[in-house]
């Protein structure tokens, strides 16, 4: 503080300093005159006695702490001037750093706004998730209402309160039909978290089961765009009409990384279809610690109570864990390794950038050696010159960091926009990503670190004593001064290899994405619709209404077929049963479908499909896929065979039941793009609306634009009433490919970044090599080598580096490709185009990067370079 004050006061301090010395001089002259000198002689004597005033003033400034500051300013000015004089280098360095720091700051922005920014609730630092750990160490966060009540009482003065919240996707059918996110919460939620309604009110514990809803600000804007305060309006979720009683203030967005459109009392959550008397609905529980209470104290209290809860022995709670949830992502630490890997990968890009810039700076050292040697000879200390050079590199790096923040943010906003558009279709609104002071600090820290990292080695190198000797001999040759060249070559090779891996991975994924859109799944993705309906939680479909819905659908002229299924093609993953045929046990995927299924997908069967009677009684018959037939009964006709299917689960043990195969269906694509394909499928009969068949698929006639409203009308009608949102399997597949697309984009981006850096690195390496070996090149030229040969030779060396890198990178790519090959249907493990294009691109860029410096080498005056020694 004091030094800051002094600095601000600098001008007056300088004046005082001069005044003080002036006073001294005058007083001395007076004294000398008193002692009998003439004024003239006295003045001269006083000045001599005083000594070098300028030097002493400088020392005074140092004593006041001004000097470091002055030097820094001078260094900065000098560095900037130097950088401006070399626009090419400066632009390259700033761009490389901006890209490398940009991707890092973008990643950090995501991390910061999800894992560091506290939740916008009261007492965020006391917020926790209540997790039970059983004797086997398994964790669960679900509790029944009576258990929650007991735990609330047990918490006493250690726990302020517990609440329940469950955030799920629902289909809103009024005011406009669209997907939305609903949070089912206990009545004390709002009051406990200090959430304030901007208009209207929140609901209380007494209203937990009442049909009321509180909208979020974004929810209100989405569902009632023309009404800023839609209090008293109705929203319909499933079959239930809810009255809007309030709209929350915009800053309250809940505790999850998606913003709910509306909050609904947890009492409205319906019991599931499988409504056995034993079954009790369970809720996930969170809460706030009492102010001042420690987590351990609260855990001890709650554990004591939880171990005595009346639960079956195998479900018994061994202890309670309170997982800290002060931010969106805090808590169980499961994400930590993923985050760590991401940061390591992204920071590696910065590492490559720094290594490259260090190379580049070393190459530049040639042009600066003379200047620096001169300064050292004139008496500048080595530390002083190193400091000056570091100031320069840190300045560049900070410039890069500044630009990087902007670039990172722009990229992130673009990505966020893309993701928001996609998520918006599912009714998901995410809290926006904001760059805050943490991001700026992170980028600045990276900038300083990067500046030091790429500046230090070259600075030490070019100020080393042997260079000064060389400079005294008026020579700028750097021969014999360099670190082993092999190190740099390896660095380049490593870079080339890693950018090749990333490029190829991006290429393989992109090629795959392109291919998958051409693959025929075995059904018409544009005409098969999946009736998404998130209404089960509020009002389960009963057997009757399920059947009625299907009857109603098939009566429509726009509908070619409708069927109830357990699993929808491309959505999720088929479960597996143990199936025994001819005494051999295999695991096969299975699906329960009704009698209209094959006709709905438009599949031609060998044999026959299920009869309506068979689906009602769940008769012991089965249709198998062609692949399954070949696996189970290789070489013999499947129809008429018997397969033993073991449907027992851990909860419900059952004897394996024999099923007679009545038909064989062609192979079609089932699982989503990420789960891998399994064509071995056994179809079992089940009636519509029966416990297992909850989903409906529809094949349409004609245009989707005509069919979709018709289907919606049926869903909203008396047969169903809960509404539905049909989406074609094409759309489903498109959504599922988004993660792959993002992965391909990131791999491609990092690969391109790596490639650009490799090019810069190579170019500087060659320039460096040329300087280092000008004698050798001179000899070559004198001995009659053509310039072309010199160029070829140097370029050849660079290509060798890159070749080495590729040799390292290719096996990695092949392994990765095989892995992809095994995981996803139709992916071509070795897309020839990608495997030819990426290395060719790498080679082309290498050659381009080399040609300019190599040609400069070839134009060397051989006599001059030979005379140097």
């Amino acid at each position: 503080m004091r030094t800051l004050f002094r600095r601000l006061n600098r001008r007056s301090r300088e004046r005082e300093m001069r005044e003080e010395m002036e006073f001294h001089l005058v007083a001395r002259i007076d004294t000398l005159v008193e002692r009998g000198m003439t004024r003239e002689a006295a003045t001269r004597t006083a000045r001599i006695e005083m000594g070098n005033v300028g030097a002493y003033e400088e020392e005074c400034r140092a004593a006041l702490g001004y000097r470091l500051w002055d030097e820094l300013r001078a260094d900065l000015r000098f560095g900037l001037r130097h950088l401006v004089k070399q626009p090419g280098y400066t632009a390259a360095a700033v761009t490389i750093l901006a890209l490398a720091i940009g991707v890092n700051s973008a990643l950090f922005t995501v991390f910061s706004s999800r894992a560091l920014e506290p939740l916008a609730i009261r007492g965020a630092d006391r917020h926790f998730e209540l997790v039970s750990i059983d004797k086997q160490g398994r964790s669960s966060s679900l509790w029944t209402a009576s258990e929650i009540e007991k735990l609330r009482q047990a918490g006493g003065d250690r726990v302020e309160d517990l609440y329940t919240a469950q955030t799920i996707q629902v289909l809103l059918t009024a005011p406009v039909q669209r997907y939305g996110i609903a949070a089912f919460v206990s009545g004390n939620y709002f009051q406990l978290l200090g959430a304030r309604a901007e208009a209207g009110r929140t609901f209380s514990a007494a209203e937990q089961g009442d049909p009321v809803a509180v909208l979020s600000r974004s929810g209100a804007r989405r569902h009632f765009p023309d009404n800023p305060a839609p209090i008293g309006e109705t929203v319909r979720v499933g079959k239930t009409n809810l009255t809007v009683v309030g709209v929350m203030a915009p800053e309250f967005i809940g505790t999850e990384a998606v913003i709910p459109d509306l909050w609904i009392g947890s009492g409205l959550v319906a019991a599931p279809v499988d409504d056995s008397p034993k079954f009790e609905r369970k809720y996930s529980v969170s809460g706030l610690l009492a102010p001042g209470a420690s987590r351990e104290q609260a855990e001890v209290r709650l554990s004591a109570a939880a171990t005595h809860l009346p639960r079956p022995a195998e479900d018994g709670v061994a202890r309670i864990e309170l997982r800290e949830r002060s931010t969106f992502l805090a808590g169980d630490g499961e994400l930590l390794p993923v985050i760590a890997i991401l940061f390591v990968a992204f920071l590696a890009v910065l590492g490559i950038a720094c290594a490259n810039l260090a190379n580049l700076s070393l190459a530049r050292a040639a042009s600066r050696a003379h200047e620096i040697a001169m300064r050292l000879s004139l008496g500048a200390s080595r530390a002083r010159v190193v400091r000056q050079l570091l100031t320069e590199s840190v300045t560049v790096a900070l410039g890069g960091a500044g630009l990087g923040i902007v670039a990172g943010l722009l990229g992130l906003k673009f990505l966020e926009g893309r993701v928001a558009t996609l998520a918006g279709g599912l009714g998901v609104v995410m809290p926006s990503l904001e760059a805050d002071w943490r991001v700026a600090a992170f980028a600045a820290a990276l900038g300083v670190l990067a500046g030091l990292a790429f500046g230090l080695a070259p600075a030490i190198e070019i100020t080393s004593p042997s260079l000064r000797v060389a400079a005294k001999r008026e020579q700028v040759s750097l021969a014999g001064r360099m670190r082993p060249k092999r190190m740099r070559q390896l660095l380049i090779a490593g870079q080339a290899g890693s950018s090749l891996v990333l490029l190829l991975l991006g290429g393989v994924l992109a090629r795959h994405l392109q291919k998958t859109s051409d693959i025929s799944p075995g059904y018409d993705m544009d005409r098969i619709f999946y009736l998404g309906s998130g209404a089960e939680l509020i009002a389960p479909t009963t057997t009757d209404s399920g059947a009625a819905l299907l009857e109603e659908l098939v009566r429509r002229p726009e509908v070619a077929g409708a069927s109830a299924v357990q699993s929808v093609p491309l959505v999720g993953r088929l479960p597996k049963y143990a199936a025994t045929a001819d005494g051999i046990l295999r695991h096969v995927a299975y699906n329960h479908v009704d009698h209209r299924f094959f006709e709905t997908l438009n599949l031609k069967l060998q044999g026959r499909s299920f009869m309506p009677r068979e689906v009602e009684t769940r008769a012991h018959v089965a249709v198998v896929s062609l692949s399954a037939a070949q696996t189970l009964w290789p070489g013999s006709a499947p129809v008429g065979q018997t397969v033993l299917i073991d449907r027992s689960t851990t909860e419900k043990p059952a004897a394996p039941e024999p099923h007679e195969v009545i038909g064989v269906a062609p192979d079609v694509m089932w699982n989503g793009w990420l789960f891998g394909q399994d064509a071995n499928v056994v179809y079992l009969p089940a009636a519509p609306g029966h416990g297992v068949t909850q989903d409906v698929i529809v094949r349409i006639h004609g245009e989707a634009s005509a069919a979709i409203p018709a289907i919606r009308e049926v869903c909203a009608g008396p047969a169903h009433g809960a509404g539905c949102e049909p989406s074609s399997l094409r759309e489903v597949s498109r959504m599922q490919r988004v993660p792959l697309e993002i992965a391909a984009a990131i791999a491609g981006l990092l690969g391109a970044l790596g490639l650009a850096m490799t090019a810069v690195g190579l170019s500087s390496l060659i320039r460096y090599t040329v300087l280092e070996r000008r004698r050798e090149i001179g000899v070559l030229l004198v001995l009659g080598a053509t310039p072309m040969r010199v160029v070829r030779r140097l370029t050849g060396e660079a290509l060798l580096c890159v070749g080495l890198g590729s040799a390292l990178g290719l096996p990695i790519c092949l392994v990765a490709s095989r892995f992809l090959d095994a995981s996803v249907l139709g992916i071509e493990g070795f897309p020839v185009s990608a495997y030819l294009l990426a290395p060719a691109l790498l080679a082309a860029i290498t050659a381009l990067a080399c040609v300019a410096p190599a040609r400069r080498a070839a134009r060397l005056d051989p006599m001059a370079s030979l005379r140097e020694e």
């Binding site: 005082e16 003080e20 007083a27 002493y56």
Partner: protein, 111 residues
């Protein structure tokens, strides 16, 4: 015969001079000259970096005032920390002088 000051001792001399009462830079110089009977000479400009160092270290404090011939001058005085340092340094110096004297007066015993 005038001798130049040993390096590092100027600070001690200044502290001593200031301890005799608040004084401006030139006055401090005169005091050093008088008390040492002109046997210790400083290049006068060197006084000021030393004063600034001591002030930054909090051993002396300064204040602008009027000099005896009615000019504006900066007066230095000892802070408590400076007083403590002066005591310590004086003791150190005495020990050093004694040790040096003993060492320089030693007779060749062996011969």
């Amino acid at each position: 015969l005038a001798s130049s000051i040993l390096p590092g001792t100027l600070d001690l001399l200044i502290l001593k001079a200031v301890s005799l009462g608040s004084q401006h830079g030139y006055g401090i110089l005169l005091r050093i000259e008088q008390t040492s009977e002109n046997s210790l000479l400083v290049e006068q400009g060197a006084l000021y970096p030393a004063l600034y160092r001591l002030e930054t270290a909090g051993l002396i404090s300064s204040e602008w005032g009027q000099s005896e011939n009615n000019r504006r001058a900066k007066f230095y005085s000892l802070t408590p920390a400076g007083r403590k340092r002066l005591r310590e340094e004086t003791a150190n110096w005495k020990r050093l002088v004694e040790a040096m004297a003993m060492a320089l007066n030693a007779k060749a015993v062996a011969e």
